[in-house]
Symmetry: D2
Subunit: 331 residues, 4 copies
C-alpha cells in the first residue's frame, strides 16, 4: 500500500482524490491546498490528513506525490518532490515557460526519480484502443492523423489571460496525443488561428479557433483542429488514415437512446465536458502510474513528453505570429 | 429484346413502366388500364401503345405481361396470360381469397408458363445481403428472426375496407420475407392484434397493430411486428439471431447528414414510404425476372410463394379470431 | 451515515460492496456469507466486520440490509430483516415459488418496513431515459413495446437445473422492464419457446430461446425476445412505438472506435455481460434506495413489483406448457 | 423538349447520356467522341445520332452541349459552343492552365451564353442538405469547415503524369466545395503535401497526400484533406462547425446491414467510387442545369466558379513549392 500526498484540492484534485482512494494499492494520506478549507473538506471525505505542500514533500512516510495545484507551481513542486525522493504524477502543463520547464526536466532528471505528466487522454479507452490497433499494424503505416478537439464553451476571459494561450492551455493535449499516436515528434509545425467565437478573447491577445498542421520526417502528416466553443458538448474525436485503412474514435454519448418523430431522429449529445468524458481515463492513468512504479518500469508519459508538447505549443505560437512554418528543432 | 405488356397504370404500374423501360433487354410495348386516360398518359411518356388487357394477352408479339392492376383481377389475369403462353410477373397478393388463389395456382401450373409474384422486398439490397450472408453460413444456423414493418401513416378507411385486412394487405410482405429468410414455412402461427392507431379502422373490422409469432419444425422462431403508423416514416427493419451471431438490416435514411446543437444530435428520417425505400428493389426485381426468363431457370419468387404467404395471412387471421395458435397445415 | 449489512459476498455481493462503499451516505459495516472466507476477503477490502446473517439482522446498529445471497434464502431473509425493523434491498427474484413469494410479501407488508427489489435495469441510464421520455409524453401514447434480451453464453447446465427456468431466471428482468415502461400489468401473456442453443438445456427441462407476447387492457402490446446465447456479447435493447414516434435504447459498446479496411467497417462489440453493462445501474439503484429511505418516500421498485414479475413468469410457463394464452389474473 | 449534343462518350460521358435520356425535358440527340466506335455504341443504346464535335456545335437544332471530352479540349469547346449560341455544361476542370481558363472565361462571357461547370458534388443530396441548413442559419455563422476526400486507390502513374497534379485534378472538387459552403473565396491558402502512398507518384512529380488550410477575410477557416488511397472505399465527408452547432455529412454505405459476431460488429463499406456515390448527384446536376436554362436564371455553378477553383489549386501548388502561405489575390 503506497501512501499518497495530494497537492491541490480544486476541481481536478477532487477527481484524483477519488481515483487514489478507489485504487486498491494506494492510500490518500494527506492533502494540501493554498486555500486550506478546500483541503480540509476533501480530507474529511477521504479520512486523510491536511498539511502544507512542503510538509507533504518532506514527509518520509509519503511514497508519491500527485501535483494538481496551479500551473505556476508545477516546476518547483516537481523539483522539490523529486529531490525529496518522491515519485511524482503532475498535471499538465509542466510550465507556461518552456525555458523553466526545460530546467525542471534537467533538475528532476538528476534525481533519478520517476515523474509522470498527466496527459490523461492517452488513457481514454477509445484513444488507447486506437493506439493499440496502430501498434498491432491493423491499418498498416500511419499516413494522416486528424484530431478534433472542441470545448463546449469558452472559459472566462479572466482565465484566458493567465492560461498561456490556446496552444499551451488547450491544444497541448492534442500535441501530446499526436506524439502518442505517431510515436515521434514532427519536424515542421504550421499554425492558423483566429478569434471568431468571442472578440473579448481576441482583446485578451488570444485566439479561440485554430488549425495546426504537423509534418513528420517521413512525409506523414497530422492536423489538429481546436475551437473553444461547440454548443453541443465536448467534441473529442480522432482518426488515423493508414496504408491499410482508417481508425476513428467517435465521441462518447450521454446515452444510447434514439428518438424518432416527425421532427427527425434525435440521439444524445456527447458527454458534456472533460470530467464526464475522461473520468475512466483518470482512473486508468492512476493505475498506469502505480503499475509503472510497482514494476519499476518507465513511466507511460514522461516529463520529456510534457516538455515536448510544450515545445510544440511554442512552435505553433511562433508560426501563428509569423505566418510561416516553424521547424521544431529551432524552438 | 422482350416485348412487355403492362396491365395497370396506377402508382405501382408507373414504377414498373420506368423499370421496364430502363432495362436494356425489355421494351415497354403496350399498356392497359381500366381508366383509359391513365394508360394513355403513361404510354405517351414511354412511347408505348394503349390496349385493353385482353388484347395485350391475346397479342402474339407480347412476350411477358406485368400485372399491376387491382387485386381482384390478379387471379383471372394470371390464368388468362399463362393460358395465352405469356410469362407473368404479378403484383402481390395473388388474391384475397385463399381458395381462389389456390385454383389460380393449379390452373397456371397446368400451362407450364413461368409466373413470378412481386414480393419486391426480397430484392432490396439490404435484405438480399442478409439472405446471402445466411446462405453463406456467416452467422451459423438461424434461430430467431424479427421483422419490424411499420407504415408511416394508415391508408384511408375506405381502402382498409377492401384491403382484405392487415394480414393479407400489409403483413403478407413480412410473411414472404420470413419464408425467404428461413427457407421454409412455419408449422404454427400465433397472432395478437389490436386497434390502437385509429378507432375507425376497428369499426371497419380491421386491426392496425399486430404481433405474430411463427414457430418452425426444428424449434427456430420468428416474430413479425406491424403498425399502420410510425410518424417518423417507413420503418422496415429485420434481424436474425443465429448460432454464431446476429444480422441486422437497418432503415435507409434520407441522407447522411447529422446536425449537433444544444438541442441534441439530429439525423435524417427513414425514406418516407415504399416508393422511396424500394425503388432499387423494383429495378432489381425486374432484372431477376428477366434473367430467370432468359436463362430458363426457375422464378426467384413463385406463384406457390404467393399462395403460401396468403395461407399464412389466413392462419394469422384465424389465430387472431380464436386467440389460439393455428397449425398452418390445417388452413 | 447509514450502517449497512451485506448478506452474500459472491459476484453480485462484491458489486454491491463497492456501491455501498462509494456512496457518501452509507457505510458498509458488516458482511456475511455462508462461505465465511468469501465474507472475510470482502470485509478486509472494505474495512468491514464479518458476522452471520442472523447476527446482522439482530444488530440494532444496522440500518439497512442488502440481500445478495442465493435465491432460496431471499423470502426468509426479507421476512426476518423487516421484522427486525430493517430497511431491505433484495436481489431478484423474490423466490422461485410464487406462493412463497406471496407469503413473503404479506409478512413483510405487515411490518411496514421498506423493501426494494433489485431490478437494476430500471436504473440503467438508457432505459431510465426512455422511461423519462415516455412519462413526458415525447412519443405520445405507447402502443408497441419490444424488448431484446440475449445473454452472451448459456450458463452451465447445473445452474439451469436450479435456476427456476428461463422465465423466472432470465426473462423476469424483462417482465419487470415491461411493467416499468408500460406502467401497468398486462392482461394476457402468450409464450413460445424452444431449445435450439444447447440440447442439454432441453434435457434439463428448460428452453433457451423464447418469444413472449403481452397484451394490455387498452389494446397496446409488448413482445419480449430472449436467447441464452448471442456470441457477440450481451444484447440488451428496447424500443417503444408510440402514437407520435419511436424510442430506442441501443447497446452500450466497449468503445467508440471504428476500423475501416478492405474487410469492412468494424465497430466494438457490446459490453460483454451484465457487470460491464449495468455497473452504472447498480450505483444508481443504490442511490435511489438511499434517497427513498432518507426522504421517507415509496421505494422505486417494490416487493409487489417483484411478485408481479414472478407471476408473469409463472403465466409464461403455463402458456408455454399449454400452448394457449394465459390470463394473468388466473395465475 | 431540348435537344442535347454530348461530346465525349467515355466513362463520364456514359453517365451523362443516361441522365440526359432519363430527364423528361431533354433528348439525347447526338454524340461525338474522338474514338468514333465509342460514340457509336453509346448512340445505339440511346437511339441518338453520331457526329463530329464541330458538327454538333454547328447544328442549329441542338440547344445545349454537354462537354465530357478530355480536359485539354474543354476551353476550346466552351468557346466554340458559346460562340455558336449553345448553352454549355462542361465537366471540370475548365483547363489545366489557369491562364487559358481565364481567356476562356473572358471569351465565353462575351457571348452571353450560359455556361455551367460540372462540380457534381454540389448536387449530392448530403452536401446539398448541409448547404441548405447553413443558408437557413441552423448552426449560426460558419467558423470551421473540414473536408475529407480520399480516393479508394490511386490512378495509374500514366494518368498522374497528365493530370495536372493532385490539386488541379482531385482537390479542385474540394476547393469548389469550400466555396460552395462558405459562400466566398478564401484570402490565404497554405498547403502541406507529401508522397507516402506510392513513390512512383513522387517520381512523376506529384504528391498523393495533402492537407490544405484556407483562411477567410473574417477569420473563419477551412481544412481539406486528400489522399489518393483509402483501401476501404471512397471517403467523402464534410463537416462545418458554426456558432450554434455542427453539421456533418457522413459517407454513403453500400447497404445498411450490420453483422455482429465474436469477431466484432461489421457494417458495409462506403460506396466504392464516384460513380456509385455521386450517381444521384449527376442526375440532380442535370436537372439543375435544365431548370436554370428554362427559367432563364443564373447557372448554379458558373464558369467563374470553375476558374476560381483552378486559381485555388494554383495557389496551393505555389504554397506547397515555397512552404509559405499564398495570398489568393496574388495568383
Amino acid at each position: 500500500m503506497l501512501n499518497i500526498g495530494l497537492i491541490g484540492a480544486g476541481r481536478i484534485g477532487q477527481v484524483h482524490a477519488q481515483t487514489i482512494s478507489n485504487h486498491s494499492g494506494t492510500r490518500l494520506a494527506v492533502i494540501s491546498d493554498v486555500y486550506q478549507p478546500a483541503a480540509e473538506t476533501l480530507a474529511k471525505k477521504y479520512h486523510a490528513e491536511v498539511a502544507r505542500s512542503e510538509d507533504i514533500i518532506a514527509d518520509s512516510a509519503i511514497d508519491a506525490v500527485l501535483i494538481a495545484s496551479s500551473t505556476d507551481t508545477h516546476s518547483e513542486l516537481i523539483e522539490a518532490a523529486t529531490q525529496a525522493g518522491k515519485a511524482v504524477l503532475c498535471e499538465k502543463p509542466v510550465d507556461l515557460s518552456l525555458e523553466r520547464a526545460r530546467t525542471c526536466l534537467a533538475n528532476a532528471a538528476q534525481t533519478g526519480q520517476p515523474v509522470m505528466i498527466g496527459f490523461n487522454r492517452r488513457f481514454d479507452p477509445n484513444f488507447a484502443s486506437i493506439k493499440q490497433a496502430l501498434t498491432a499494424g491493423e491499418i498498416g503505416k500511419p499516413e494522416l492523423l486528424s484530431i478534433t478537439s472542441f470545448d463546449p464553451a469558452p472559459p472566462p476571459v479572466s482565465y484566458i489571460k493567465v492560461s498561456g494561450g490556446l496552444f499551451r492551455d488547450m491544444m497541448i493535449h492534442d500535441f501530446d496525443m499526436a506524439n502518442f499516436m505517431m510515436g515521434e515528434a514532427p519536424v515542421f509545425i504550421s499554425a492558423s488561428g483566429s478569434c471568431v467565437v468571442d472578440p473579448e478573447i481576441g482583446k485578451a491577445g488570444d485566439i479561440d479557433t485554430a488549425i495546426v498542421t504537423l509534418r513528420y520526417g517521413d512525409g506523414k502528416m497530422a492536423v489538429i483542429k481546436n475551437s473553444r466553443r461547440a454548443g453541443y458538448g465536448y467534441d473529442q474525436r480522432l482518426e488515423v488514415l493508414g496504408s491499410d485503412g482508417l481508425l476513428q474514435a467517435q465521441n462518447m454519448l450521454e446515452n444510447t437512446v434514439v428518438k424518432s418523430t416527425t421532427d427527425g431522429v434525435v440521439s444524445a449529445k456527447p458527454t458534456y465536458f472533460f470530467l464526464e468524458r475522461y473520468m475512466p481515463a483518470y482512473a486508468r492513468e492512476w493505475h498506469a502510474f502505480i503499475e509503472a512504479l510497482e514494476s519499476d518500469s518507465s513511466m507511460p508519459v514522461t516529463l520529456e513528453d510534457g516538455v515536448l508538447a510544450l515545445t510544440m505549443a511554442e512552435a505553433a505560437k511562433q508560426s501563428l505570429d509569423t505566418g510561416m512554418p516553424v521547424r521544431l528543432a529551432d524552438v
